[in-house]
């Protein structure tokens, strides 16, 4: 999809700020709020749940931001395909399932992406990010700021994947 000024973009950061680096998602949203990038909807929550599908369905492009417990640092950016199966018995829903729900319930074909910011420490009741996670956050937000201004997030994903492959 080529993005224009009329493309409706939603960015959702999720995680628990009291679980150390698990708070990277909400922290990214706070940073984006300060940048005051016009024309995008920002949201933060402890976790994703079914009603997020309704909000997702109202947008053309949705970027989920979560802390990554494993994988590339400082971040990874991947395209999501809708998932049509739910978890065993959890109240929460994973990003791909939110896309699947939006499609099943509201016939929405939102383009979904996951920005996973690498975290390292997830202890209970620790309200600060580790120094390395904070550095990753800065780079991830800078990347997203640029990506949101590009004409094609899809192209950005492809470039990101080339970069990741070169690193590994």
């Amino acid at each position: 999809m080529t993005h224009t000024i009329d493309t409706k973009v939603l960015v959702i950061g999720f995680g628990n700020p009291a679980r150390g680096d698990d708070g990277l998602g909400p922290a990214a949203i706070e940073a984006l709020e300060k940048l005051d990038i016009g024309g995008i909807t920002l949201d933060a929550d402890y976790q994703l749940t079914v009603e997020d599908a309704a909000q997702v369905a109202e947008h053309d492009v949705v970027i989920f931001i979560d802390a990554a417990m494993t994988g590339n640092a400082p971040y990874s950016f991947t395209r999501l395909e809708p998932k049509y199966q739910d978890s065993f018995s959890s109240h929460s829903v994973e990003p791909a399932s939110v896309l699947g729900l939006a499609e099943n319930l509201f016939h929405a074909r939102s383009e979904g992406y996951l920005l996973g910011i690498r975290g390292y420490s997830f202890p209970m009741f620790t309200e600060t990010l580790t120094e390395k996670a904070r550095e990753n956050l800065i780079q991830a937000v800078a990347f997203l700021e640029t990506a949101l201004q590009s004409s094609s997030l899809h192209q950005t994903v492809e470039q990101q994947e080339i970069l990741s492959n070169n690193k590994s």
Partner: protein, 481 residues
């Protein structure tokens, strides 16, 4: 750790999710392959009580929301009620109390809707033994799309109420010691009122689904994970259902009152907690009866069993029909939780409608204070049951003691009993069947346990089931992603 008796086999069922924490079911079998003992293990950490020590008391209503991503409002309001006592605000301004109530009813509405449509309705619509691949909300979305959309939109409506009263989803600051920090604007009020009739209609439909299902399947449900028990909740001074404020009441399985009219500040006269060697989670009990028989149920079923009436007409009509099923005595059917949960959904939306039409919500007198105290207790009915918050502060306004009893902890013994009943009926031999797994899952889910409150755990793992013989050899193992 679980004790393994000689000549007993052990079955372990281990569901772990990111949010709800870590639960494990251990079934001990005798030589004949019959269930001798069932135990639900929940790894409870009391870290939060330590975490808040040294923090200024006014931060607590915000901090406690991090306990649970599912019901942060319940912890927010229970902590705020405790802090009201500390700042001497025994009587809030009408605007403050009604804004908090609106927040709380919004919380009930969305939480119960999430549970019913997302987790419970697949069991009811497809059957307990249906393939898990379809027995989930996606399956409901495919086969009953209108119902699935209703669930999502009801949940969204409740979340929007919370956002308008509490502020941001993370770091919500609506309730503060002694009151509230905002009122409801006319624009916000009108945005909710335009959808209220639709929400009422959907709520009526939800009660009907739960009621019809229970009545039509009564013969099968009445023994499913069921057992006689005590029931505990807060009720209003006149005996009405009141999920925000009231005195403690407990009744036995026949409806006889064990305790009544106990002020929330005296909860320790009523409830104590027992530690058992095999569980990290405590077992609360009614002191008057003692630990062996004093355990009790909390949540929607307990609330409907303990209250004398509901003060909204449509929910009261439904309550009467529910109670008629057991001739006015407490209903002890575990699966009846779902019916009562939907009665509370109807009650909540009736209350939301009434509050939205109350001009006090636009008032500007938001905070009150009084004589400072060193100790405060806040008790509230959370969607899953009675929630106790107890704090002490020093002269520097720092928290020096905190004790929380969450509803999942109160329902610890009942959930163990429910699992035991199901296992006795469904398990035989040395194989763990899908049917057994599904039925245990259904019984636990009736309580809508939010294990994250009790455990504060994180992680994402599949359901693991292991069957061991008396010598520890693995007989069978199942993994459910």
């Amino acid at each position: 750790m679980t004790m393994e008796s000689k000549n007993l086999k052990r079955v372990i069922i281990e569901p772990v999710t990111r949010v709800e924490g870590h639960g494990k079911v251990t079934l001990l079998l005798d030589d004949a392959g019959k269930v001798k003992q069932a135990r639900l293990h929940i790894v409870e950490f009391r870290g939060f009580e330590r975490f808040v020590q040294g923090r200024p008391y006014w931060e607590v209503p915000v901090l406690v929301q991090r306990l649970c991503g599912i019901c942060p409002v319940s912890h927010h309001l229970a902590a705020a009620k405790a802090m009201d006592v500390i700042v001497g605000a025994r009587q809030l301004t009408p605007t403050a109390e009604k804004m908090r109530r609106l927040m709380h009813y919004g919380q009930f509405f969305q939480s119960h809707a999430l549970h019913f449509f997302h987790l419970c309705s697949p069991d009811l619509l497809f059957g307990f033994d249906a393939d898990p691949a379809i027995r989930n909300v996606i399956g409901v979305a495919k086969k009953f799309p209108e119902l699935a959309v209703q669930g999502v939109m009801m949940r969204k409506f409740g979340q929007e109420i919370i956002k308008a009263t509490a502020g941001k989803k993370i770091h919500g600051t609506g309730a503060i010691p002694g009151g509230i920090n905002k009122n409801l604007s006319i624009a916000e009020r009108d945005s909710f009122l335009k959808d209220i009739d639709q929400m009422l209609e959907w709520s009526r439909g939800s009660v009907k689904i739960a009621r019809d299902y229970t009545v039509e399947n009564l013969e099968n449900l009445k023994d499913f994970g069921s057992f006689p028990s005590n029931h505990l909740s807060i009720v209003r001074d006149d005996g009405a259902l009141d999920i925000y404020n009231g005195n403690i009441r407990a009744v036995d399985a026949e409806g006889n009152r064990i305790v009544d009219d106990v002020n929330d500040q005296n909860y320790q006269d009523v409830v104590a907690e027992e530690v058992r060697s095999w569980s990290y989670m405590k077992f609360p009990f009614i002191k008057k009866i003692g630990p062996e028989n004093g355990w009790y149920r909390v949540g929607p079923l307990a609330r409907i069993n303990t209250c004398d009436f509901i003060d909204t007409p449509e929910a009261e009509k439904e309550r009467k029909e529910f109670m008629a099923l057991t001739d006015g005595k407490p209903n002890n059917i575990t699966m009846a939780y779902h019916w009562t949960r939907m009665i509370e959904v109807l009650h909540s939306i009736e209350k939301i409608r009434d509050l939205l039409n109350d001009s006090d919500l636009q008032g500007t007198d938001l905070v009150t204070t009084g004589d400072r105290c060193d100790e405060g207790i806040g008790i509230i009915e959370a969607p899953r049951g009675t929630l106790f918050h107890h704090y002490r502060v020093n002269k520097d306004d720092q928290i020096v003691m905190a004790n929380l009893i969450v509803s999942t902890t109160s329902n610890n013994e009942p959930m163990n009993r429910a699992v035991q009943r199901v296992a006795e009926d469904k398990l035989s031999g040395n194989k763990i069947t899908e049917g057994l797994l599904n039925n245990i899952e259904v019984a636990i889910r009736a309580y809508d346990p939010c294990l994250s409150c009790a455990t504060h755990a994180m992680g994402q793992m599949p359901l693991v089931v292991e069957l061991h013989d008396a010598d520890g050899r693995l007989l069978d193992r199942k993994v459910k992603d």
